[in-house]
């Protein structure tokens, strides 16, 4: 749940955020997805997150690949630049965008097909780079847009609509992330906005690659009994590691003393994530333990959700590169071009 208090609206006026914008300003075109598709819920969670954080929509860049999931950036933040790139290459395209303009809020939306098969190398390498972006992987265990083939995230034994079980090892985006040095590794469920929105907020404040694997059922091809990515199964099998709350910077000062039973995790801009402690003694900064926990839940047929791992100290791509603070796109040409005198001096070495 978010700590941003929603204004109590008595009249029919729409609530506005700090920029004076309403939720309308954070919406997009009409969705052309199937009625009930999990991806539409994720879109609305994203819109709500940006609204609540009062981010001007045009300061975001919405990046995606190809798939039903990848279509969704057209359905929120209408005035943002957005891009449906080619299938699987979005993490690399996003690398270019972030390189050009480090101040944009780069938001990637992808699918399990887009990220875990054709795009796997790009996905993993964007994490290695610790690219400063939020990466939402709308995970439904199938290729929705091409009519329901198993994706690489399908669990062994999960059945296709026709009844045939998947027989290959699943790729779990979280395990991938942990083995690729991911610095913000979380999972959620399209049906659980209360968990999802704080995670997206925290991801936006995390300086680095924030992966949120969102189980987002495909009602048309993978929501039947026997599927481990259905609404019903996901609801039943989800185990929240610990409830996560997000505290924006201003309020974070007030809650300097974290409420009893919570562990505060400071993010770069001063905001905090509050992790409600459970008695497990789980440490979200221990990579090995995080992997263990995921694998153990997996073995029990459970789906671990929440913020599973965070590393706030790793440099993001620009920090490693020591790029100038100003976005490269804004550096004037005069500062980029050495000019004729410098050239003349340099040429002495070639004569």
């Amino acid at each position: 749940m978010s700590f941003i208090t929603k204004p109590h609206v008595v009249r029919v006026e729409m609530p506005t955020n700090a920029l004076g914008l309403t939720m309308r300003d954070y919406e997009g075109g009409m969705s052309t997805l199937c009625a009930g598709c999990g991806h539409d819920s994720v879109s609305s969670a994203i819109a709500q997150t940006f609204f609540e954080l009062s981010i001007p929509p045009h300061r975001a860049a919405k990046m995606s690949g190809i798939g039903c999931s990848s279509k969704t950036p057209a359905y929120f933040l209408r005035t943002s630049h957005g891009m449906n790139a080619v299938h699987g290459r979005m993490p690399a395209v996003a690398t270019g965008v972030a390189a050009a303009n480090r101040e944009l809020h780069v938001l990637g939306v992808s699918g399990d097909g887009d990220s875990l098969s054709i795009g796997l190398a790009h996905f993993v390498h964007a994490m290695r780079r610790n690219l400063n972006m939020v990466y939402i992987l709308e995970n439904n265990g199938v290729y929705g847009l091409t009519k329901g083939q198993f994706s690489a995230s399908a669990d062994i034994g999960s059945t296709a609509k026709g009844g045939a079980p998947n027989l290959q090892q699943p790729l779990d985006p979280l395990q991938m992330a942990l083995s690729a040095g991911g610095t913000f590794v979380a999972r959620s469920f399209s049906g659980d906005k209360h968990q999802l929105i704080p995670l997206i907020k925290a991801g936006l404040e995390h300086r680095g690659f924030a992966l949120i694997d969102v189980i987002s059922p495909c009602v048309t091809f993978n929501d039947h009994v026997g599927s481990t990515k259905s609404y019903a199964h996901t609801r039943d099998a989800s185990r929240e590691l610990f409830p996560t709350d997000f505290v924006p910077p201003a309020e974070a000062i007030e809650v300097e003393l974290a409420p009893e039973g919570t562990t505060p995790v400071k993010l770069h801009d001063g905001s905090q994530i509050l992790l409600r402690q459970t008695d497990s003694g789980y440490d979200p900064t221990d990579r090995g333990a995080a992997f263990q926990a995921i694998v153990e839940h997996q073995a029990r047929g459970e789906i671990l959700t929440g913020l599973v791992y965070i590393d706030r100290d790793a440099d993001d791509m620009h920090a490693s590169n020591e790029t100038c603070p100003k976005p490269l796109v804004d550096v004037p040409f005069a500062e980029l071009c050495p000019g004729s005198d410098a050239l003349e001096r340099l040429m002495a070495g070639f004569a």
């Binding site: 891009m83 790139a85 972030a98 020591e322 790029t323 490269l328 000019g339």
Partner: protein, 606 residues
């Protein structure tokens, strides 16, 4: 085999060695010495696709007349590699001079009597002087330089100066040891050999205002001057040194000396698909972003190229071509990616190409490429090659015009967007097929959605056939208008009126010029058009129209430029005669004359 001409300031010397033994510096020293003596020179490196232990050759051409390309002959062979001795001996032109290491006896059967043979006991000398095996190997190279210096009449003051410059103050101790090794060879030669040879260097004044540079260095530098801020790449020979050069020059020119902050960002991508995608994203984000690759990379990048041209995102891609297809001969040169580049990707596509002829044009075309890519909002592929990119060329010293401002094309900035009633990304406002674009983050009115699927003027999704046809026809119109934004061809007319022409491009240029002079001398006159870009402009059509018979000189098997000419322009196939050379070695005038004498029968008939 042509008879060796060898003479003062007009000869080719080839040095055979083993890679990984450090011969590069000795070879470079020889080339630079000649250059400093005012005599035009160029150097070409033939190296294997491995790291250590295989044969390598370095070839230096000295040419007062300024024919600075492969000569097709060897006047002096320095046979330092026992492994290739037979081959090296055989390739020496008649009348030439063989220099070999006489430390061990050589089988007399392997000698020729139409050449001069000079033995120098280099290994023995070095083994006597130096104890450490590594030093022995390194110094042998320096010592043979000393021998050559004496034989070729190299000015030792120039050599000393170069050695000083090379090692500078910081590695001063190396100056003395190197000079000592040089002197060892030099003195030996003066004492035991008839120095100098007839084939030798005499000081001149023909290199003033010039520099020696390879094309990848020039391209890297050009990209710094063009204002590129993001480079993305995946290592591949022979393009690697291009991005390396960009990085080196950025470290020199683009780091804030106080804060250490960098005005650039270079990303070593996970592969070429990633590199192309980064270039797409960087340019979409508003930063001049480029990549450098070679053939296999172009194949892998083709899907992204198709996307960028269809969505009208600028991209700049340097293809430093090597011998294809497939892995091919990765350390040999060729011009064989024209068709893959021009029509890259499925569907109806056409991409802009630039053809630099030498490092000077690599430097210039770095800006031209970005200007054209941004003006046309489309990928521009610069087709360099291994010969240009990795060999040492003498070029006029690059100049920079400080009034140059990058042409970012039709960009709606903050103010324009604020003032505009509305912004439609793909509307053909000016009737030239080129729409207006906007960068992300600038203004809410600028936001739009980029997609490789069907889109209308407002960048909205559409599957409507009419919208689609309109878009495709605009794109065609846009590219039809491209030539005026691209470097124009260079025409050199013969002194005599003639119906005969030559068309060439890229690294064939200098060999064509030499061949043309030879033809001229034998009374055959050719007008010469050098293509510098694609799609072709009217000037190319006019040249085709004005000639009866045109040789198209190319370094590939299939006459790929000829294909483009046939497809894009209006010309009788019979009059375009392919003159092809494609064995991976830099083209010489002899190759061209031979190819012209025997135009590929199959092609000529077809």
């Amino acid at each position: 085999m042509a008879h060796a001409r060898g003479g003062v300031n007009d000869f080719t010397i080839r040095i055979a060695n083993v890679n990984g033994t450090g011969s590069a510096s000795a070879n470079g020293l020889l080339m630079r010495s000649v250059f400093r003596m005012g005599v035009p020179v160029c150097g070409k490196n033939f190296f294997p696709s491995n790291i250590q232990g295989l044969p390598t050759w370095y070839e230096i051409r000295v040419s007062d007349a300024g024919y600075l390309c492969a000569s097709g002959r060897v006047d002096i062979m320095v046979a330092m590699n026992a492994q290739t001795y037979d081959k090296d001996l055989a390739e020496l032109s008649a009348g030439g001079c063989l220099i070999y290491d006489s430390s061990w006896p050589r089988d007399k059967q392997l000698w020729r009597d139409d050449i001069q043979i000079v033995g120098v006991p280099l290994a023995r000398m070095c083994n006597e002087r130096y104890a450490d095996p590594r030093t022995r190997i390194l110094m042998k190279n320096i010592a043979y330089f000393g021998v050559l210096a004496a034989l070729l009449n190299i000015d030792m003051r120039v050599v000393e100066q170069l050695i000083q410059e090379q090692f500078g103050e910081r590695k001063k101790h190396l100056v003395a040891s190197n000079l000592e090794a040089i002197a060892m060879g030099y003195d030996y030669a003066l004492e035991h050999l008839a120095c100098p040879l007839a084939t030798r260097v005499e000081a001149s004044d023909r290199t003033a205002g010039h520099v020696l540079m390879d094309g990848n260095t020039a391209a890297g530098l050009g990209n710094v001057f063009a204002g590129a801020t993001v480079g993305a790449w995946y290592p591949i020979t022979p393009s690697t040194s291009l991005m390396d050069a960009f990085g080196n020059f950025c470290r020199r020119f683009r780091i804030n000396p106080e804060t250490g902050a960098k005005n650039y960002c270079i990303v070593q991508a996970e592969d070429e698909l990633g590199a192309a995608a980064i270039v797409l994203g960087g340019n979409w984000g508003g930063a001049r972003t480029f990549t450098a690759t070679s053939g296999p990379g172009v194949s892998l990048m083709s899907e992204i190229l198709g996307y960028a041209s269809f969505t009208e995102v600028p991209m700049v891609l340097w293809d430093v071509q090597r011998t294809g297809p497939s892995t091919g001969l990765p350390t040999r040169t060729q011009q064989s990616d024209l068709i893959s580049a021009a029509y890259a990707s499925h569907g109806d596509t056409r991409h802009a190409l630039l053809f630099p002829a030498d490092p000077a044009e690599c430097f210039e075309m770095a800006s031209s490429a970005f200007d054209a890519a941004e003006r046309l909002q489309t990928p521009v592929i610069v087709l360099s090659d291994l010969d240009i990119g990795m060999n040492d060329w003498m070029i006029p010293k690059p100049q920079w015009d400080d009034t140059y401002q990058p042409d970012r094309g039709k960009v709606m900035d903050q103010a324009a967007l604020e003032a505009a009633a509305e912004f439609h990304r793909y509307a053909d406002v000016d009737g030239d097929g080129i729409p207006y674009r906007s960068y992300p983050g600038v203004h809410p009115k600028g936001g739009f959605f980029t997609r490789g699927s069907g889109h209308n003027e407002k960048a909205q999704y559409t599957e409507d056939g009419g919208d689609y046809v309109r878009l495709m026809e605009r794109l065609r119109r846009k590219m039809d208008g491209a030539p005026k934004h691209l470097p124009a061809p260079v025409v050199q007319r013969a002194n005599h009126a003639t119906q005969d022409g030559i068309i060439a491009y890229g690294s064939s240029d200098r060999a064509v010029l030499e061949a043309r002079d030879k033809l001229n001398a034998s009374g055959r006159h050719f007008n010469y058009l050098r293509i510098r870009s694609f799609p072709f402009g009217d000037d190319v059509q006019r040249f085709l129209d004005a000639h009866e018979r045109i040789y198209v000189v190319e370094q590939n098997r299939d006459g790929q430029l000829r294909t483009l000419l046939l497809n894009e322009l209006n010309v009788d196939k019979q009059k375009l005669l392919p003159a092809l050379h494609f064995d991976g070695m830099p083209i010489s005038s002899l190759n061209i004359l031979a190819a012209m004498a025997e135009p590929d029968a199959r092609e000529a008939a077809a």
